[in-house]
Symmetry: C2
Subunit: 204 residues, 2 copies
Amino acid sequence: MSKRGYHHGNLRQALVEAALRLIEVKGPTGFTLSEAAKQAGVTPAAVYRHFEGREDLIAEAARQGFLMFADLMQHAYDKYQPSALAAFEATGRAYLAFARKHPGHYIAMFESGISSNRTPELANAARRAHQILERAADDLSQHIPAERRPPASMFSAHILAMSHGVVELYARNTPGTNSPFPPEDLLETGIGIYLRGLGLIDPD
Amino acid sequence: MSKRGYHHGNLRQALVEAALRLIEVKGPTGFTLSEAAKQAGVTPAAVYRHFEGREDLIAEAARQGFLMFADLMQHAYDKYQPSALAAFEATGRAYLAFARKHPGHYIAMFESGISSNRTPELANAARRAHQILERAADDLSQHIPAERRPPASMFSAHILAMSHGVVELYARNTPGTNSPFPPEDLLETGIGIYLRGLGLIDPD
DNA sequence: TGTACATCAGTGAACGCGCGTTCACTGATGTAC
DNA sequence: TGTACATCAGTGAACGCGCGTTCACTGATGTAC
């Protein structure tokens, strides 16, 4: 901030943060370049010194989200080593925790409609996050007898789908859809039943 | 249509259909009242003879979607009776099939951000669809020993979450995210593993 | 330390645009007699 | 069948708005001498 004693200090990051706040409150569509600029105390035109435009700003927010997300999952994965099962479950939980803690990033990443292949930097960040989950799934798949072992990428996809579904359907504060159970419980039990189905948890 | 020989014939429904087409192509945000009017061959102001405004038009599209959705699930449920298991699996599959076949409705229902409690009619339609899935889950839960039987509404939520996640993450034609498996297979195997975890399918 | 200059982050005005919504109206359809 | 009238679906012009983006500019910061 004060290190580079420029006019604003660090407008680029200030804009990203304003965008995240707006995306969180107003949804991926309600976000406006002009309003983000205003919140950062700057003219809309100033944005163009740091970003190519509106989409580029969202992409940067998403990129930062994927980095944080990857760190969070990596941390969960490491923490529960060497138990492949515990590590896998923890990465699943990390998904929901991330969505809860950083809704702006989450929306920018998964609901804004921007492709993760939009820029190489964004694609890299997304790939890194994805690979951690896939690795946890791969570790786990070693514990399943080879002859009835589904591809690791398949059950990482299952867990991702259930996690994402729980977030979208039950962890959003949509006043209408009152969630029947706390989302954390829903995901926890869902993953538990699923893992039992894979033969990785005792039937009782 | 020709029965009521009005100026347009049946503008109300024509507007809904135009809206669905636009929502499908441009996303929930890209949809525009003015453009829907234009596609129906009518001035934007004409819309206000039939709807209170933009949101109301989307809500009607969603309502029609929930009705179709409920019919589809009901049909699937009935078809596979009396097997509670087959019926439940079929309603799960119906979810994905609906999302595939009627993407405009699906988006209006689940991604447009309008609350299903917006109007009583919409709430009714949504409830009806929900109850069918819940009933299939309830039938199924009778086959689980009472002492380790999770609430039916919980595993209907699990299936809903996984289905929704598969749709959002793998069944959208986002060019970047290439799905590792056909969404139908992903959902089928996911539900299969889950049901095995519930002890409803033989372990092998 | 002081002056002249280069850099470039942010300004402010302007643009063209399409939006949702309103309003008094028009004119085709349906109805009463 | 024909005329007078009521209804009301759709018109067209207008509104105020905020948007993303452009442009020549300004003025603070950093640098060379």
